[in-house]
Subunit: 134 residues, 4 copies
DNA sequence: GTGGTCTAGACCACG
DNA sequence: GTGGTCTAGACCACC
């Protein structure tokens, strides 16, 4: 599932084990970290985004609630949710934390399978090579 | 939780999000892939392994049942479960499949966060460097 | 034990030696093979079906899990289990496989008892004649 | 697993769901029904048969115990087990009972799968045709 | 509400 | 002793 909404580009995979609300929250976080979304900008409304992603509005609401708790979003009554002041450094830190954590888990698992670091390195390169991106 | 049982060394982390039965199954799979367990060898009995890992026998049984469905284990009535004939290639393939899949997910997520391949590569190296292992 | 649930008609005999979860799984398989259940349709929820058949929810869950492993069902988080895309051909094949296998076993046993094919044929006709059905 | 022992020819399949002891008992029953074994004849000793079939002696013993209960075998102290007087009619009846029962189960299952009697008939012919035998 | 995981403990069949 | 099935009931995440 992918969709473009405002300045955001969402890509949801409901089969990869990561909760949908978590994926939504992360993608907002990442967009702020990149500078794609700036403090004060409106994010898509709960209902609109839910419609566009064909997911339950509760799921979007939960993602936004979590972002509020992290001081990344704040609600403007009568207007919607906007990127909070000071969100960018939080998001950058958060982005690195999330990615490092997930990379660490994968490495742990590979080590546990008795692969050597070198073999893990090779697998990683091989997968990275398959992907298109900068 | 770690334990040594027969030729196997188990390490279970009940807090990392991966179901315990899945961790047990993977570790058997990995051990066969490594050659630590060979076709015809008995694996620890459901009850014994459950006792040693301090988990419920049903959880071990579920892991073993899944391995049966994958033609990695077969049950010998009244005797126990043994590594099936032809299990090793299955396990090797399975090991690579599991690790590649998980690596792929992490890379996807990192790319989506607008990191460049080079940046992802650096993060990976940094995390791999932190680990001890061969 | 019989029950009607949604488009399904279940008939469970807990004394015939075939595990209850297996009977549940087969009946879903057969219903898909017949076209009574179509891709995308929800099957009865684990809890509801368990209540209606007066069995334990875990037993139903096990049947459904097995069907998931066979790519016949897929779970929609928070929604329920639906018939997977492409389930029908799988179910048709599976139905024939199951029945042929069981017929084959019976014939083997009869041959081993030194009955001739003709005698086996007669026994079969005689039993088939006793049954009511189309 | 197959073996020839005295006048008996045993064929054991430990994967077809029928308990091994039951398969042993049935094959003795069938041999008596055919006249291959006659009243007063010795059957192979528990230990010898167990060795030849590579199964547990307890399993053979259990089969023989069941046959004793059915008045098909009787033990001669210091000699072994022999086919009892009057065993043949018992075995003939028993053979038909067993086969009819198993055929009935299979037909029931096929009917439950919504196959018509005609379709079941065809499946049966097809499987019978595959077998070699008289 | 949904499914998923896990525990605890029973009973059975088999060797 | 072994695995296999089933029950009862808890807790969690998700929608």
């Amino acid at each position: 599932m992918t969709c473009e909404s405002g300045k955001m580009f969402f890509q949801i995979d409901s089969t990869n084990g990561i909760p949908v609300y978590e994926q939504v929250a992360r993608q907002v976080t990442f967009a702020v970290a990149n500078g794609a979304l700036q403090s004060g900008e409106l994010v898509p409304s709960v209902r609109q985004l839910a419609r566009e992603l064909a997911i339950n509005p509760n799921t979007v609401a939960r993602a936004y609630r979590q972002l509020q708790d992290q001081n990344i979003l704040e609600s403007r009554r009568g207007t919607g949710m906007v990127i909070a002041n000071g969100a960018r450094p939080i998001c950058k830190t958060e982005r690195t934390r999330i990615l490092r954590e997930r990379i660490g888990y994968v490495i742990d698992e590979a080590l546990q399978s008795q692969l050597t670091k070198e073999e893990i390195q090779k697998l990683f390169q091989s997968e990275l090579g398959k992907k298109r991106g900068k």
